[in-house]
Amino acid sequence: MVKFVSLAEAIADNLHDGDSVAFEGFTHLIPHAAAHEAIRQGIKDLTLIRMTPDIIYDQMIGMGLAKKVVFSYAGNPGVGLLRRLRDAVENQHPRAIEIEEHSHAAMANAYEAGASGLPCAIFRGYKGAELAKVNPNIKSVTCPFTGEELAAVPAIRPDVSIIHAQKADRRGNVLVEGIVGVQKEAVLAAKRAVVTVEEIVEDVTKVHPNACVLPHWTITAIAEVKGGAHPSYAHGYYDRDNAAYLEWDKISAERDLFESWMKANVIDALPGDFAARVADLEVNK
């Protein structure tokens, strides 16, 4: 039974020390507010799973929450490298982290396998790619019908998946629109699913017969957080804050600057602060 709760409660109830967690969002609808709440709550020893661990995982790694990262592209999209992640990998600061690295195709297939209840994903990939030599979770299988050798990776089954969506309705059905990424697969692959939404409306099931709706019984907890994806965006609500992504490159370059920024904007902030951050980015205004 889905619960409507505050963001603090949703994270405290569902994300625990040592969990594997996927904060998913493919450039669009990245659950920044939820990640900041996890940082404020000081949750430890997380295995962070995400295809594109951008700013939020840079922040979580820099604040020492992660023991392991599973990913396929660890960059600040269109800007450059993730400097806190680099500091952890290259200098073990603030702690050493383990990395498990895949390609996008592998991660996307692995989420789909997780959602499908399969133990592994099979696909045509990693041909000639050196990741297959350094990641023991990349193996191969032979097609029993054609003899073709295919790549295999374990299904992704997070303890909890956390996403941001445009709308939930009063029953707890969740609507995702625009670039839908792997959020549906991440939610269905996880034991528990937490969703933050821009707004709660009467009914999302009549938008379009094929709209991407996650039925209420696939979700554990919903928290309304207006602007909760910033500086990522919510299609139909506000635009991507590209300037903030460019700015992050500077903030994350220095440990001291990073820590003071995190204190001012995350530790001493609240979920309610996100609404003001998107005020100038709102569409149709």
Partner: protein, 260 residues
């Protein structure tokens, strides 16, 4: 417009754009490939199909996206699909004729490293990694690569095989069971390179206007090969330059300001 009124970067983007056609279905990498693809779309190839790995198919952005998933890609697309579908039905399914990649490190056989500088376990520089590139490199019909020449970028030996080009050259792709063509074109800020039909080693086939062979060699760490008859890349036309500069100006304005 005078014949010399353009930068090496602009020449690179325009030369890359010219290599694209209306019939191409392109998996577009961010950065230089994205600029080239959109210049092609805005000039001679209005019907080119551009696909970004965020799931947007047939997108027509007015400004260059900062990331592969900017909202405009979705708003202007024919359709937007989930990421697993993108990689399974469209890329793995063999529906994409051309992959257009950039590279941090490249070798003479078109193998690409975007993973680490130094060793994998104890890297000197941890780069973002492959993202979609390992399967783009093997599943698209053919591959174009674009990058600026430098001794650090065009190296004798790459530190990590993120994406497989022609491996050790010759029929190495075929020996690994890869049925697609692989890298068929390298467009740099100085020249256009094509793989030798037999060895698959990149060979300079055209020098951009004013560029010398020495300049090409000075910015390439392997001994550069030149085709028997090396052409000169035609100068950018006024339309090409104007289209590229307008696109960049719109892009800069959009990325600097909030809600610009």
């Amino acid at each position: 417009m005078s014949g010399n009124d353009f930068t090496a970067d602009e020449m690179m983007t325009i030369a890359a754009a010219r290599a694209l056609s209306n019939d191409d279905v392109v998996f577009v990498g961010i950065g230089a490939p994205s600029a080239a693809c959109n210049v092609a779309r805005l000039t001679h190839a209005p019907d080119i199909t551009l696909i970004y790995e965020s799931g947007t198919i047939g997108t027509k952005p007015d400004v260059l996206p900062l990331s592969i998933g900017d909202g405009e890609l979705c708003e202007t697309a024919v359709t937007t699909v989930a990421v697993p579908e993108m990689f399974r039905y469209w890329l793995q399914g063999g529906r994409i004729t051309l992959g257009f990649l950039g590279a941090a490190q490249l070798d003479r056989f078109g193998n690409i490293n975007t993973t680490v500088i130094g060793s994998y376990d104890d890297p000197k520089v941890r780069l973002p990694g492959g993202g979609g590139a390992p399967e783009i490199a093997s599943s698209c019909g053919k591959i174009f690569i674009t990058m600026k020449q430098s001794l650090r970028g065009m190296v004798e030996k790459i530190d990590f095989f993120t994406s497989f080009g022609h491996g050790e050259g010759g029929d190495h792709r075929k020996r690994l069971g890869i049925t697609t063509e692989g890298p068929v074109l390298l467009i740099t800020d100085l020249a256009i390179w094509e793989p030798d039909p037999e060895t698959k080693e990149f060979t300079v086939v055209s020098l951009h206007p004013g560029v010398t062979r020495d300049q090409v060699q000075d910015t390439c760490a392997w001994p550069a090969k030149f085709a028997d008859s090396v052409k000169e890349t035609p100068l950018p036309t006024e339309e090409e330059i104007r289209t590229l500069r307008d696109l960049k100006a719109r892009t800069d304005a959009a990325h600097k300001g909030k809600a610009a």
